[in-house]
Amino acid sequence: MNFSDLIQRIPGIIKSPETVPVEGKKLIVDCVAWLGSAVGITLPEWVLTLVSILIVIVTIIAVFMVMFALMSVFERKIIARIQNRYGPNRVGPCGLFQPVADGIKMLTKEDIVPRGADKIVHFLAPIAMVAPALVLPVILPYGRGMVPIELATGILFFFAMGAGTELAVFMAGWSSNNKYSVMGAMRAIAQMISYELPLVMSAVVVALVAGTLSPNGIVEAQAGYNLGFIPKWFVLTPWGFVACLLFYLGALAESNRSPFDLPEGESELVAGHLTEYSGFKYAIFFMAEYVGMFAINGLLVTLFLGGYQSPLPFLEWIPSWCWFFAKLACVAFSMVWVRATLPRFRIDQMMQFAWKFMLPMSFAALIAAATWHYAGRGPAAWGLSALIVGIPYLVLGRLCFTRHHTADNRTYLFSE
């Protein structure tokens, strides 16, 4: 293994990725072996494996930390632009060093634990929050042959790890010994459990059509073009479009972002389960939320937007991981846009929307996907599945969103 061979195999440099299968982890192993031989040591196999695992872990954490830092400043600037003001522009060029200033501020703040708090659980809650969030990104395919951990049940892994977040929210809310915290945590858990159902169901739709639970297999199933230029992404089929929207809404709700930010609605609950957290622990919660958001957006890109596939045939010379991150940035931007534009839901609206609209719609999408598959995936199948998702949409929209249903029958579940 010489140096020019290694250079040739770096994903961004190869011209046509299809001809040479690039295996990211094998590449790292070879790089480490090459470095070892350059110094004059032959490294044993287990050292290579260990070092490559460490490199993958450090890379994922570093990339997501940088994305978190960039997102925190760009989100504020974008929202400011939408609301006709400047946003942060004091620290560094164009305010780009704002995250550094924020980080210093967070680290130097006093870490307060309330006297009545359950100290152990209060301490463990941020850890329980950030650990699953940092594990989530490992199953995403970032490019051809660039899957950190190739799991045959990757989608299931993602949702199983995501379930840990609810527990952390409960721990944070209950251990703070504050009624705002408990109420915020109860709201957050109710919201997460309710929206997890349509989220998982819409992922099941894709798993059904792709015939696999492995994220890489799902991206491979979306390769190719119809008519030579329309990509075979799942979002461009009727059932996939519906499932994609459901997944997007579920992702918004799971990451507690506006318009689903009721658990930490400042005007109602101070800051929900985060009320009694300060300093570095608060920053950890914040970070976990953003990393979780990136991970779930990455899953959205993987499931519906073709993952690392390029949108047009003549753009395939651009490395596949560029497409993944470009799509990820677009989805993240749309979430910021939504946050800047829409007001917050009321709690009964939120619950009704999840159980009476999104869940039946996800079942409809499941049936439509099965029909699409068995009708031959052609134009006729396209029309048929459009019909199967269209009719429930019209009927449910009529039933759920007529005025008197939402405005009059209000029940105050948690206020008694």
Binding site: T153, L156, A160, A163, G164, L167, I193, E196, T212
Partner: protein
């Protein structure tokens, strides 16, 4: 000392990775012991969650990846959440004094604890005796190749050999959903 070190090094270390499952197993036992002994109900439920997480990891370590993830998804995501909600829906006074026989001394409670402990210990002795002295369990050998349960095979199995149990489970879960909703629904005075 040197002799001990020599014997330690000559143990079959190449078989060590297949005993790694002992780490989650011990964590699981510790967490479940804490879940039984602790005074505060919320702490009990949180320890139970830790025990379930370790059990899921143990399943994954034994090669049943799919079952391990389902265990994490169902138990951590749903069952413990139900338990925690139920604990919060019972009044705070009872959460504080959850009459744990191991902490507060009281004759009837002590008798209760001793009897329960004796029964559990008896069952444990019986089980362990059966496990370590039964000829069937001793006849089992380590498998030649690692047993794996691929998700595709599980799916095919669910829809062929175990189709009837699957349908039965679906009906049962629907019945449980409706039943739980009906039971927990508050009866409002008309």
């Amino acid at each position: 000392m040197h002799d001990l070190l020599q014997r330690f090094l000559s143990l079959p270390w190449d078989q060590a990775p297949q005993w790694l499952f002992l780490i989650p197993a011990l964590l699981m036992l510790l967490a479940s012991a804490a879940a039984v002994m602790l005074r505060n109900l919320i702490h009990c439920a949180l320890c139970l969650t830790l025990s379930f997480i370790a059990l899921g990891v143990l399943f994954i370590a034994l090669g049943a990846e799919f079952v391990g993830f389902v265990q994490l998804l169902v138990y951590v995501g749903a069952v413990t959440m139900l338990i925690l909600f139920a604990i919060l829906l019972t009044p705070a006074s009872e959460v504080a004094a959850s009459n744990n026989p191991f902490r507060s001394f009281n004759l009837s409670k002590a008798v209760n604890a001793v009897t329960g402990g004796a029964v559990a210990l008896l069952v444990l002795c019986g089980l362990l005796a059966a496990i370590f002295f039964s000829p069937h369990a001793r006849a089992a050998v380590n498998p030649a190749q690692a047993a794996v349960a691929p998700a595709k095979a599980i799916g095919e199995n669910l829809l062929s050999h175990t189709l009837l149990p699957l349908q039965g489970t679906a009906i049962l879960l629907t019945a449980a959903l409706i039943g739980a909703a009906l039971l927990a629904k508050e009866e409002r005075p008309s």
